[in-house]
């Protein structure tokens, strides 16, 4: 017999699983308020809000944060444009080497980050490109393209090809067809892919280590900060803000894409 209600055992198991995943995050939040700044002591000896003020006044935090936001935004934009174009080409036309290209595009996400990082570093060295903001962006774009591409290709596959022909038939030029038919049909896929790309870039450490010069992105700043036992809760404050800032767009996107399960061009 199938029942819509889960058994108590299953509920408990699910609850335990979810707590295991999410309780440590709450721990991070609590340590942001602790009065002890050299080690993580449980329970916290006292609670204070002073770390928020300290964080606010630390220029290195602001630098790292703006750098990370810039890198993630530009990598995502590059990925959205190139990933969508590539997905359109692979799913809409037949050409020599099509299979090879779709494999090559996905490869960066399958490769260990350290391999991508080392190879990019050597390539930049050989080409005599100085490490800068743009080398970080290029490194991130390699794997950001993959997630956008994967999302877009899946959506293109589910979108009936005759929609494009129908639009052309009704008088629309290629650009108008893209604007009025293709974009509305792939927009949720692009939104999802873009957010994933942004999140991937925002917390990337390994590739960044190899492609950054003197700059510190936020995750690298956090890593460095943990090694230095000074004003430790500042890291927790930053972590808390990062969680809140990344959680809001994801929540927003979740509500935006809800109820768009209907497949484009499905059914007859």
């Amino acid at each position: 017999m199938h029942s819509d209600r889960a058994s108590t055992k299953l509920k408990v198991a699910a609850g335990l699983g979810l707590s295991f995943m999410h309780l440590p995050i709450i721990l991070i939040f609590i340590y942001a308020f602790t009065t002890e700044d050299k080690s993580y002591q449980w329970p916290p000896p006292g609670l204070t809000l002073k770390w928020f003020e300290v964080t606010w006044n630390r220029p290195d935090v602001w630098e790292a944060l703006t750098l990370s936001l810039k890198v993630a935004s530009i990598s995502t934009i590059i990925a959205l444009i190139l990933g969508t174009l590539c997905a359109a080409a692979v799913s809409r036309s037949r050409f020599f080497g099509r299979e090879a290209i779709s494999l090559l595009v996905i490869l960066p996400i399958a490769l260990p980050g350290i391999v991508t990082g080392i190879s990019l570093r050597s390539a930049f060295n050989i080409a005599d490109i100085p490490f800068s903001f743009w080398t970080i962006v290029l490194g991130h774009a390699t794997f950001c393209i993959v997630v956008v591409y994967n999302n877009a290709v899946a959506r293109f596959r589910r979108t009936s090809g005759s929609l494009i022909e129908a639009s052309m038939d009704l008088g629309a030029t290629s650009f108008q067809t893209f604007r009025h038919v293709i974009l509305p049909n792939i927009s949720t896929a692009l939104l999802a892919g873009g957010m994933l790309a942004f999140a991937l870039s925002f917390d990337e450490v390994i590739v960044t280590t190899f492609t950054a010069g003197q700059q510190q992105t936020l995750p690298i700043w956090m890593l460095e900060e943990l090694v230095r036992p000074r004003q430790r809760p500042v890291t927790n404050v930053v972590a808390m803000i990062v969680v809140l800032v990344t959680f809001l767009p994801i929540l927003g996107a979740y509500y935006l894409t809800r109820g768009t399960d209907t497949v484009a061009g499905q059914g007859k």
């Binding site: 009936s160 005759s162 929609l163 022909e165 129908a166 639009s167 052309m168 038939d169 009704l170 008088g171 629309a172 030029t173 108008q176 009025h180 038919v181 509305p184 049909n185 209907t262 497949v263 484009a264 061009g265 499905q266 059914g267 007859k268």
Partner: protein
């Protein structure tokens, strides 16, 4: 008289495949023209050539006297009803229907009026607010029709538009399409593999086989006076008689065909064995074996139906024999 669509020696090859091979068509203005043939015979490619989704490898296509050479689909005064309807899933019915007008830059108010008129024309008034996913197959078909007609095309192309509908709906839509075409006076070009559909709706039918047109004519001519064995077989499921029954008439090699409904069973005629029988509603279909070649007989209600394995004789009246020039090969 102007031709709505004219093909002059048009070919469309895909690599070594000759999808359309040296085809000439002249479709008159206001005509209901059917392109009939089995799948892969080139009929849909011909339709796509008219719409502009394909360009001919050789030959010339003109639409209302103007060459269609290099004219993209969005500049042709031709609209298509697609086989899978291709309704835009993100737009509601009203926006689907008014899409062409929106692209043409017509004001929101005017296109709303025009779209509602078009929906009324296809008997779907008040459906504007629904999404295509909330409609039945027959309703989607009507929306696709309205979306094409609202642009007042000079030629309406229909690619197997009734293929996905059930039998009853299909018969109803056949009548409605015919009625609509008469009312609007637009040239309809209709692609189908269903001979019944082509014969009942079209003013003229072109029968396709292997990328070529094998016969063009009125439905009665196609049915009663097939010029080649393929048409006799495909359109009427005629029994093409074997060579030893074929005689030479006036020195020309001919092939003879006889329609299943004209075949009689009894004591006289050629000896045959009944292979199987199947009841198909108004009549019974009897499959016969005449010493190596097959024949089909349709027996009307009331006749004695033989059972499988039974021996019998087949005959037909002389006037039911139809003679065709033998194919070249």
């Amino acid at each position: 008289m102007t031709s709505a669509v004219a093909f002059t020696s048009v070919s469309r090859h895909f690599g070594s495949v000759r999808a359309v091979d040296n085809v000439d068509i002249n479709i008159a203005e206001g005509e209901f023209f059917a392109m009939l043939g089995p799948s892969g015979s080139g009929k849909t490619t011909c339709l796509r050539l008219i719409a502009g989704f394909e360009q001919p490898t050789a030959g010339e296509i003109s639409i209302f006297g103007q060459s269609a050479q290099g004219v993209p689909p969005y500049k042709r005064q031709v609209n298509t009803v697609f086989q899978d309807y291709a309704l835009f899933p993100h737009l509601n019915v009203l926006d689907n229907v008014s899409y062409g007008l929106m692209i043409a830059g017509i004001s929101k108010k005017e296109r709303r009026i025009a779209a509602e008129e078009a929906l009324e024309l296809v008997a779907l008034p008040g459906y504007g607010g629904r999404k295509p996913s909330e409609l039945s197959g027959g309703q989607r078909q009507r929306v696709a029709l309205a979306r094409a007609l609202v642009n007042k095309p000079k030629v309406l192309l229909l690619d197997e538009p009734l293929g996905a509908l059930d039998l009853k709906l299909r018969e109803q839509m056949q009548e409605e399409l015919k009625e609509l075409q008469r009312k609007l006076g637009i040239t309809f070009v209709f692609v189908t593999h269903d001979q019944g559909e082509a014969l009942s709706m079209a003013d003229r039918v072109a029968v396709f086989n292997d990328g070529k047109i094998v016969q063009v004519g009125k439905p009665e001519d196609i049915y009663y006076r097939p010029e080649v064995p393929f048409v006799a077989d495909f359109v009427g499921s005629s029994n093409v008689l074997p060579p030893h029954v074929t005689k030479e008439v006036k020195g020309i090699a001919v092939t003879a065909a006889v329609r299943p409904e004209a075949v009689r069973l009894g004591e006289k005629g050629l000896p045959a064995t009944v292979r199987s029988t199947s009841f198909i509603g108004t009549s019974t279909r009897v499959s016969l074996d005449l010493g190596g070649f097959q024949m089909i007989a349709l027996l009307p209600k009331g006749q004695i139906i033989p059972s499988a394995g039974e021996r019998t004789h087949v005959s037909w009246a002389d006037e039911d024999i139809h003679l065709m020039e033998q194919a070249d090969e």
